[in-house]
Amino acid sequence: MNKEKIKITGIDLYYGDFQALKNINMILPQNKITAFIGPSGCGKTTLLKSLNRMNDLISDCRISGEILLDGQNIYENIDVNLLRKRVGMVFQKPNLFPMSIYDNVAYGPRTHGIRSKVMLDEIVEKSLVRAVIWDEVKDRIKKSALSLSGGQQQRICIARALAVEPEVLLMDEPTSALDPVSTSKIEELVLELKNDYTIIIVTHNMQQAVRVSDKTAFFLLGEIVEYRDTESIFSMPEDKRTEDYITGRFG
């Protein structure tokens, strides 16, 4: 059950001369939700984006160390596009394409070579159902996705990410642009998805980390200060800095 999905060993990451991550070591267990917390600019999102190599898009970004996905080094001899299929991502702001809901969700499967209309219909429906948005949009699936509310858009984004059948789901502050009702819907959804996916969620919301995550890592200035079970980190932080942060004394 507690199989390790991702193993991070000795990761150092630089943007130009600035070191954004310092010697990160951690194991992310399968079918668990791991939360990354910490003040802005502490490296949470950077580490998240290293896990599906979205940092490759930044020109002066250098990384050293090892990240193993099911034992395979994702920075060596690997097709980045296939890696990103296995490790999906949901971004901070809903970033749907200016297309219909259907085309948005079908974009991923189409990218990976599925052409059959029947199969695509099935995948789109299944993904929307999984993201608990199907009932709200099933009547206007061919309409523009941009006409939906922010919360709905973010759930479509999750559906879109699920449509390529990833194993890991990276979520970069997925609720920071949403209202409380939409936020709680997404949180319920995340808990639901845990059974089938390994989820890593970056959040600025302490309560959210407590509500959804099994494990929590606290980041500060590019380092992991503490990484333990969510319950114990919040009830009994070992490090003074963690305690100060989660009790709201800074950050």
């Binding site: 599906n52 979205m54 898009l57 020109s59 596009n81 296939l82 890696l83 990103r84 299929k85 999906g88 991502m89 971004f91 702001k93 970033n95 749907l96 394409f97 200016p98 297309m99 219909s100 085309d103 974009y107 991923g108 990218t111 990976h112 523009s144 984004c157 879109r160 990410a161 390529v164």
Partner: protein, 272 residues
């Protein structure tokens, strides 16, 4: 005091607007009044004779010239812009040079293009005064315009679209052609409209490359005059000033039509 300043500024802004708009109206009105009475059916006869200076062949030539020039310039311009925005690394020396070149090219007077076209396409490549030489020259002329407007259009596509596409495991090529390019279409079309405007209105670059034969072309290597050249020739000969005005009316209408049609297309494309 402040009130007074604001009043002066306001009157100045109003005056500027009225004058600009007034000149435009006057120009159009003048052309219409001078041209419309001479817009006789015989001006649209199949062939041009020195008694009846029909503009029909020139209309066909204009359409051909425009299409051919766009067919050459759009692919080159589009792909150059895609390379510059999506593929080239920032601060790349080559990119800087290409950008400087295209900016310089955009500022060169069209007569210089005409001279180049005459020396290179007409003489060196031996195409003679022809539609082909003319449209090749025009496509060199509008290339910088197309590159720059396409670049701007691509840059204005939010990076979040690209991120989302890459995040789903799409490669660079798919991202560019399925996500970025469709979103950039309105901006690209705006550039194409500007380019069409320049082609339709061009004379200097064409006189030396496409010649002034007022007949329907047999093939791409025949000389052909466009509407603007037709108008220029009529008025410089001095015998048919009224017909020149009538031609101007038709030119105006054509430009207006092109703009409207492209706007409709742009709206169709962006709507999903």
């Amino acid at each position: 005091m402040a009130k007074q300043t604001s009043f002066i500024l306001k009157s100045f802004v109003m005056a500027a607007t009225i004058i600009t708009f007034g000149i435009l109206l006057f120009l159009i009105g003048y052309i219409l009044i001078k041209g419309v009475p001479y817009l006789t059916p015989s001006l649209f006869n199949m062939s041009y004779t020195s008694e009846n200076v029909s503009m029909f062949p020139s209309i066909i030539n204009t359409v051909l010239m425009t299409l051919l020039s766009l067919m050459i310039a759009i692919p080159f311009g589009l792909f150059t812009a895609i390379y510059l925005v999506e593929y080239a690394k920032r601060g790349n020396k080559l990119v800087e040079i290409i950008r400087l070149t295209s900016e310089t090219l955009a500022g060169i007077p069209s007569i210089v293009y005409g001279l180049f076209g005459m020396l290179f396409f007409v003489t060196y490549l031996g195409w003679g005064y022809s539609i082909l030489a003319g449209s090749a020259t025009l496509s060199v002329m509008i290339l910088p315009l197309i590159i720059r407007t396409t670049e701007e259009a691509l840059k204005s596509v939010p990076d979040s679209y690209r991120e989302a596409s890459f995040g789903l495991g799409a490669g660079q090529l798919r991202t560019v052609f399925h996500i970025v390019l469709p979103s950039a279409v309105p901006g690209i079309l705006a550039g194409v409209i500007l380019a069409i405007g320049r082609i339709v209105g061009e004379t200097a670059a064409l006189i030396y490359t496409a010649g002034t034969v007022a007949k329907l072309p047999k093939d791409l290597l025949s000389s052909a005059r466009t509407l603007s050249v037709h108008m220029y020739t009529l008025s410089s000969e001095g015998f048919h000033t009224n017909e020149a005005f009538a031609t101007a009316v038709v030119l105006l209408i054509i430009v207006l039509l092109i703009n409207t049609v492209s706007m409709v297309i742009a709206r169709k494309v962006t709507k999903i």
